[in-house]
């Protein structure tokens, strides 16, 4: 069986790298995207195969296309039943509400520990 695939969308290379490392370490396959727009492009390219995509992890505050718009777009696509986990630093209720309203499945408040990330991912992705 194919490895569980996770798409990581974040504009900061540091976070992308750290998150990907942590996920790969836990045995997931990881793709990366720089912002919402890039993320949609990546999804478009996976449309046919789906490549075992099991989860999208995205930042909210990003240039070009922010996370909320990105989630909205994903929810309009073939991938609408895919769980989406988002990161935010502004742990204000309003951001969480917004995320939930557009259909995100969960969130993490930055900065987080690798264990927290995996813990959240585990809640949204079926174990192999």
């Amino acid at each position: 069986m194919m490895e569980e695939h996770i798409l990581v969308v974040d504009d900061s290379p540091t976070i992308r790298s750290a998150v990907s490392f942590c996920l790969r370490n836990a045995g997931y396959e990881v793709s990366e995207a720089k912002n919402g727009k890039d993320g949609l492009k990546k999804l478009e390219s996976m449309k046919e195969s789906r490549q075992g995509l099991a989860l999208i992890v995205t930042d909210i505050n990003m240039p070009q296309m922010d996370g909320i718009t990105f989630i909205k777009n994903v929810k309009k696509s073939n991938f609408r039943f895919l769980p989406i986990l988002f990161f935010t630093t502004e742990s204000k209720k309003s951001i969480l509400e917004k995320g939930r309203a557009v259909g995100a499945s969960g969130w993490l408040v930055k900065p987080f520990q690798p264990e927290q990330l995996l813990w959240a991912v585990k809640k949204l992705v079926w174990p192999k």
Binding site: S12, T14, I15, S17, T89, K92, P111, W119
Partner: protein, 703 residues
């Protein structure tokens, strides 16, 4: 190098960019102080820096960036006006963050807590006390990972009634149940399917079932709730602890309990005993030393190695534009294709077609040359960042001295070798301070002279011929020649009686320690002078020029050869040795004609070249006692220009023009006057590379 290291490297590179971006936005914000895209950009940069540094574990930087972010947030909301002092303050804060990052990059752990607290207090003063309360604190703390601590068993009654469209948010209730199961043991699970419609009415994208679970678990109520944290707000989830009802028959002895805690549980030891015992645990390194598995020195070596590798992160890595890399990959492929074609040609026939092979070889040489050029380009960086930093320095200096300036930047896309940029940045900072400090007059003075109140500082970079020019110009009062003369005499520097021209001026001010400033201000006149600038520039094979005119201003022009890894050079022979001279210094070559020579007195000879008479020199004068016979008709003239003066060199034969890699002679042999290095030619022989500045000195400053 493993991946966490890679992440750190990425972090340092990214942070450097973010800090630069912040500075630039701040400077632009200063000229248009209102909330807008600039502020957004700044906010985003700080924000990213904050989360990035927290991610790699530099919490102190993250916390600090958070404070700044709060401050910016207030600017965004219009709660604080954007003022010049505030921007100055923010620039200082950015510097402070840069310091902290640099420290981390150098492998130091952190900053003195006292200093950090003092800085934080400063930021808080700007913020006002009311903003310090954090209503969101509870949210960031709700996520605690579920380390299974050995505690007492609890029993929970969990009712799960989800909204029908739960699937749309990507949540799978079954997964939640599985998660729940990991927390302990299901005593009872009941599913309620009474909501399920008739078969033909079922929408498979809807959820009709709800559950009740009775769970026995060591986890706290909080931990159980955490499982549902993504769904608890918009679904009907109720968790109730019912431990008391299920207490009977539950085994209190936890299997997975650490021995220490189990002992506490059984009251065999106290908590203090355990903590004391834990304190006795040592670091692995120390234990190994103690057991004589390794000696102290070996341990120290490894520790130092770790520290060094941390410090090396930033110095060894450069960020390269992907397009540059792509180009290289292309060229590499081309080389591969060319080589295999060549192989075919050579093996295909009994008598290989030499003409074709030659053609192929030529095209391969062309590709290879381009390859070399492109690889050299990887080391090239635009001057954008450097100029922005200069802009910042100019601004700070002006503010400090109550002067008004406008900065003009152009040619930022011009690229220079990374090493050159690194070497010249510091000395040039000094130059920039000088321009503002000594060059630009006070607004009143400028008004009196009929100039606009705002002084102009210009930074320009451009490429011309084989050289890159960096120009720093001010429109201030120019260098006061009389003052220079006075000061030079005081210092015992030789000054000609006649009018001092730009060239002489240059020689005077480049004397070590030369400074005219009577008062040492905060920013200029510290005695680190032009000599440092000149030395650095020369070290890099460049040249420095000053032009000044009273009340018109001063222009400093630095010229650098295009690349450093590869030098284009003219290959010639004199006596039985071959030499190379860098092409950027070459003006022209021609056949030696006795009739073009004019002599006057002794050895001094001039040669007519393009309408000018240039002094002619002979390498024999430097490296041999005996003068070679210049009456020979077979000689060739090479005309060179160091930027200071032009001169001709008589040589035996000009061979060709080629790209060379200059190897330092000093590190392989010893320093030789007039020679900047050596290179290995195609046939394995060694050719010496001439140092034009040194030659200039040998020829003309012999006394």
């Amino acid at each position: 190098m493993n991946e966490p290291d890679e992440t750190l490297k990425i972090f340092f590179a990214e942070t450097e960019d973010l800090i630069k971006t912040s500075e630039e936005s701040l400077l632009r914000l200063e000229s248009a102080p209102e909330a807008g895209p600039e502020l957004e950009e700044l906010f985003r940069a700080i924000h990213t820096l904050k989360s990035g540094s927290a991610m790699v574990g530099f919490d102190h930087i993250s916390e600090y960036a958070h404070l700044i972010e709060n401050l910016l947030d207030r600017l965004r909301d219009g709660k604080l006006p954007i003022t010049r002092p505030l921007i100055s303050f923010l620039l200082e804060e950015i510097d402070f963050i840069r310091d902290m990052v640099d420290k981390c990059a150098d492998g130091e752990t952190g900053i003195e807590p006292v200093v950090l607290e003092a800085r934080k207090a400063r930021v808080n003063r700007f913020l006002g006390m009311d903003s310090i309360n954090r209503d969101d604190a509870d949210l960031s703390e709700t996520i605690t990972h579920n380390s299974i601590k050995a505690k007492k068993w609890h029993c929970y009654n969990i009712d799960l009634i989800f909204r029908k469209n739960l699937f749309e948010s990507g949540i799978d209730p079954l997964l939640l149940l599985l998660n729940l199961k990991e927390m302990g043991e299901f005593i009872e699970v009941v599913s309620d399917s009474s909501e399920l419609p008739r078969y033909e009415e079922i929408d498979i994208y809807k959820l009709y079932i709800s559950w009740r679970v009775i769970l026995k678990s060591a986890a706290s109520l909080q931990e159980i709730e955490n499982i549902f944290m993504f769904v608890k707000d918009d679904n009907d989830i109720e968790i109730e602890e019912i431990t008391n009802r299920y207490k009977d028959g539950v085994d209190l002895k936890a299997g997975g309990m650490p021995i220490g805690e189990a002992l506490i549980e059984k009251k065999s030891i106290t908590k203090n005993d355990l903590e004391e015992a834990l304190k006795k645990q040592k670091k692995i390194g120390e234990i190994l030393v103690e057991e004589k598995k390794i000696d102290k020195e070996a341990l120290q070596t490894v520790v130092t190695m770790q520290e060094e590798s941390r410090a090396a992160y930033r110095k060894t890595s450069i960020r390269v534009d992907v397009s540059k890399i792509n180009y290289l990959v292309n060229l590499a492929e081309e080389t591969g294709v060319g080589l295999s074609r060549m192989q075919n040609m050579l093996s295909d026939q009994e008598a290989p077609n030499m003409y074709e092979i030659n053609l192929q070889l030529e095209s391969l040489i062309k590709v290879n040359r381009e390859f070399q050029e492109r690889v050299a380009q990887v080391r090239m960086f635009s001057l954008e960042g450097t100029f922005r930093r200069f802009q910042r320095i100019a601004r700070d200096t002006a503010l400090d001295q109550n002067k008004q300036i406008k900065t003009i930047i152009s040619g930022t896309e011009t690229e220079l070798d990374k090493e050159v940029i690194e070497c010249i940045t510091d000395p040039l900072k000094h130059l920039v301070r000088n321009c503002v400090g000594h060059g630009i007059e006070s607004p009143e003075e400028r008004m009196a002279k009929g100039k606009p109140e705002e002084g102009i500082i210009e930074f320009r970079a451009y490429q011309k011929g084989g050289q890159i020019f960096v120009l720093i110009r001010d429109d201030g009062n120019g260098i006061n020649i009389e003052k220079i003369r006075e000061r030079a005499l005081e210092m015992g520097i030789e000054v000609p009686d006649e009018e001092i021209d730009n060239e002489t001026l240059m020689q005077i001010v480049c004397n070590p320690g030369f400074s005219t400033s009577s008062s040492v201000t905060k920013l200029s006149g510290r005695g680190v002078g032009m000599d440092v600038v000149k030395t650095e520039v020369k070290k890099l094979g460049g040249s420095l020029k000053i032009e000044t005119a009273k009340d018109k201003g001063t222009t400093f022009t630095l010229a650098f050869p295009l690349t450093f890894a590869l030098t284009e050079a003219l290959h010639f022979r004199e006596k039985d040795r071959s030499y190379l001279v860098p092409l950027w210094g070459l003006v022209g070559t021609e056949k030696f004609e006795q009739s073009n020579i004019r002599s006057f007195g002794g050895d001094e000879k001039l040669y007519r070249f393009r309408g000018n008479y240039l002094p002619i020199m002979n390498l024999s004068r430097v490296y041999w006692d005996e003068m070679s016979d210049i009456n020979s008709q077979e000689k060739v003239m090479i005309f060179l220009d160091t930027g200071r003066r032009g001169f001709g060199l008589i040589v035996d034969e000009v061979l060709d023009c080629r790209q060379i890699v200059v190897k330092s002679l000093e590190s392989n042999y010893r320093n030789v006057k007039g020679i900047s290095g050596a290179t290995i030619m195609g046939d394995g022989s060694v050719a010496l590379v001439l140092d034009l500045f040194d030659l200039d000195k040998i020829f003309f400053n012999k006394n």
